[in-house]
Amino acid sequence: MASLITCPHCGVRPKEEFSIRGDAVPVRPAPNAGAEAWYAYVYVRDNPKGRIQEYWHHAAGCRRWLVVERDNVTHEVFSVRDAADVARSGSGEAA
């Protein structure tokens, strides 16, 4: 039930140590990208049923931002990666 999250820095930790930001897929547009792009980034969510990626903050642990890939129906967790590593992987989105 996503009750335990394996933090890449701290190991297996209970869910209560984390705070959840939401969908990790939208990419912040350039400041001058225009209203339409900013609207999509701030408000529109794909919200799929099944496999998703979410930003979790290890607030009561290492305080790193993480990208948790999990299933929002079965609550199975597939991977937990440091958000900076995901961003540096260069694909432009957390994939």
Binding site: S3, K15, G22, A40, Y43, R45, N47, N72, H75
Partner: protein
């Protein structure tokens, strides 16, 4: 004597050729005389017709009330409600049954007050006992700042003609002596009281609307899952693909809160919605102890007592996106901790059942009742966890929109494009963070 009356009554009924069974004390007596063998099913089980004027996807509270008001108020009865499970199997039977109209903002308060007024006449209107009980709600406050915020909200309510009363500490103590008034960190300083608020039996609300819609000719089709939306080359909706085959329609209305992104995607809609799970709890049956609805201002906890005696309560959503109709143990613990902090005696009650419902969390915490970029597709969604109290007004306003192609006055600000235009209705002032609303 009673028998003579019954026979006379039956004759009068036959005269009027009324095929609908009207529930009344008299009907109960009459049925008792024939061993209760002649009660009719509350609604038919029709097969889908090839085409309807309006198809409503979702046989929950909002879909059923929409169908009811379409037929009753707007004269459109060639309507089908498609439900993938059984009627009322979603959130209308999973909430904590609270009805109230104590909102602050112009976009919300008139709408919820319209709903409250419909609740007040609902049972007579649809001839069904929904056990509407106006036992009052008290929103507790625990700091001077929170008192000011509630005073402001109460004033906003009064300006919209809604009852509101600011109770001081003694006023609350008189009504609810069992609360933890001297909590070290969150002492109770008072509460905002809306007398006309209360509870309603949620399943009966769905059943009452279902029966009312059915008797006016609406086809309620259960076990019929919509798997696709068929559109022509101009983009207009032609009908829906379902587990019972293709069904055509002139207008399509989505009332699938919790799964709006799933059904919306079938028509290519981009929506400001994230799906989350909210849990609810009920204790073993107790003698009457909590006579009103209470909300805790220091935590997001709310509680009332059902007519059967169970304490019905809940708190926050689980914070992460979830389509599973079950919640996380950490949230169970959090909810109970909040409850015991407010009502110490609660620690002695045992929880009988807990369940979860999935809901559309919108980006400003307010719902959407609007047209879509597709001409004949209408949208009712984004109820966050306040959808139950809105059931009557949501159905009425959605039916108004579908029938007249213009929004009902009280729902005119609940638009799909309000985020783009900068007219969000953010009651909690929390910004575009759906898990915080």
């Amino acid at each position: 004597m009673a028998l003579v009356l019954c026979i006379a009554y039956a004759k009068v009924r036959r005269l009027f050729q009324d095929t609908r069974m009207r529930y009344s004390a008299f009907e109960i007596i009459k049925q008792a005389f024939s061993g209760n063998r002649h009660w009719k099913p509350a609604w038919r089980e029709p097969q889908p017709k090839p085409h309807y004027d309006v198809i409503i996807v979702g046989g929950g509270g909002h879909g059923l009330s929409t169908a009811y008001y379409l037929a009753k108020e707007f004269g459109i009865s060639n309507v089908a409600v498609l439900e993938k499970g059984y009627l009322g199997s979603g959130n209308v039977g999973r909430n904590t049954t609270i009805i109230r109209s104590n909102y602050l903002l112009e976009g919300n308060e008139p709408f919820y007050e319209f709903s409250m007024r419909l609740w007040e006449g609902l049972e007579q209107d649809f001839n069904y006992n929904a056990m509407v009980s106006q036992r009052g709600i008290v929103n507790l406050f625990h700091s001077d700042g929170q008192r000011d915020a509630y005073a402001r909200r109460g004033n906003a309510m009064k300006m919209h003609g809604v009852d509101a009363e600011l109770l001081d500490r003694d006023g609350v103590r008189k009504m609810m002596p069992y609360l933890n008034f001297d909590h070290a960190r969150f002492p109770i300083l008072g509460g905002l009281y809306q007398k006309r608020a209360g509870t309603a039996r949620h399943d009966a609300v769905a059943w009452g609307y279902a029966r009312g819609a059915d008797s006016r000719g609406v086809d309620l089709i259960q076990q019929c899952e919509v798997t696709g939306i068929r559109r022509d080359e101009t983009g207009r909706v032609l009908g829906v693909e379902t587990s019972k085959g293709f069904i055509g329609c002139s207008k399509l209305a989505l009332a699938t809160a919790g799964h709006t992104s799933v059904t919306g995607k079938m028509a290519g809609l981009d929506l400001p919605i994230e799906t989350h799970v909210l849990q609810a709890f009920v204790s073993e049956g107790l003698k009457p102890v909590i006579h009103n609805v209470i909300t805790y201002g220091a935590g997001h906890f709310y509680i009332s007592q059902s007519d059967k005696g169970g304490l019905v309560f809940g708190a926050d959503i689980d914070y992460y996106s979830s389509y599973a109709q079950r919640g996380n143990l950490a949230t169970v613990e959090h909810t109970i901790e909040e409850g015991v902090s407010l009502i110490p005696g609660l620690s002695r009650a045992r929880v009988l059942r807990a369940w979860g419902g999935v809901m559309d969390m919108s980006m400003d915490g307010s719902p959407i009742i609007d047209r879509t970029p597709i001409d004949n597709l209408y949208l009712n969604c984004g109820w966050c966890y306040g959808g139950f109290k809105a059931t009557p007004a949501s159905g009425f306003c959605f039916a108004h929109l579908i029938a007249k192609d213009e929004p009902h006055y009280t729902a005119r600000l609940l638009r799909l494009d309000r985020f783009q235009r900068g007219f969000v209705v953010d009651e909690g002032g929390k910004g575009p963070q759906p898990n915080l609303h």
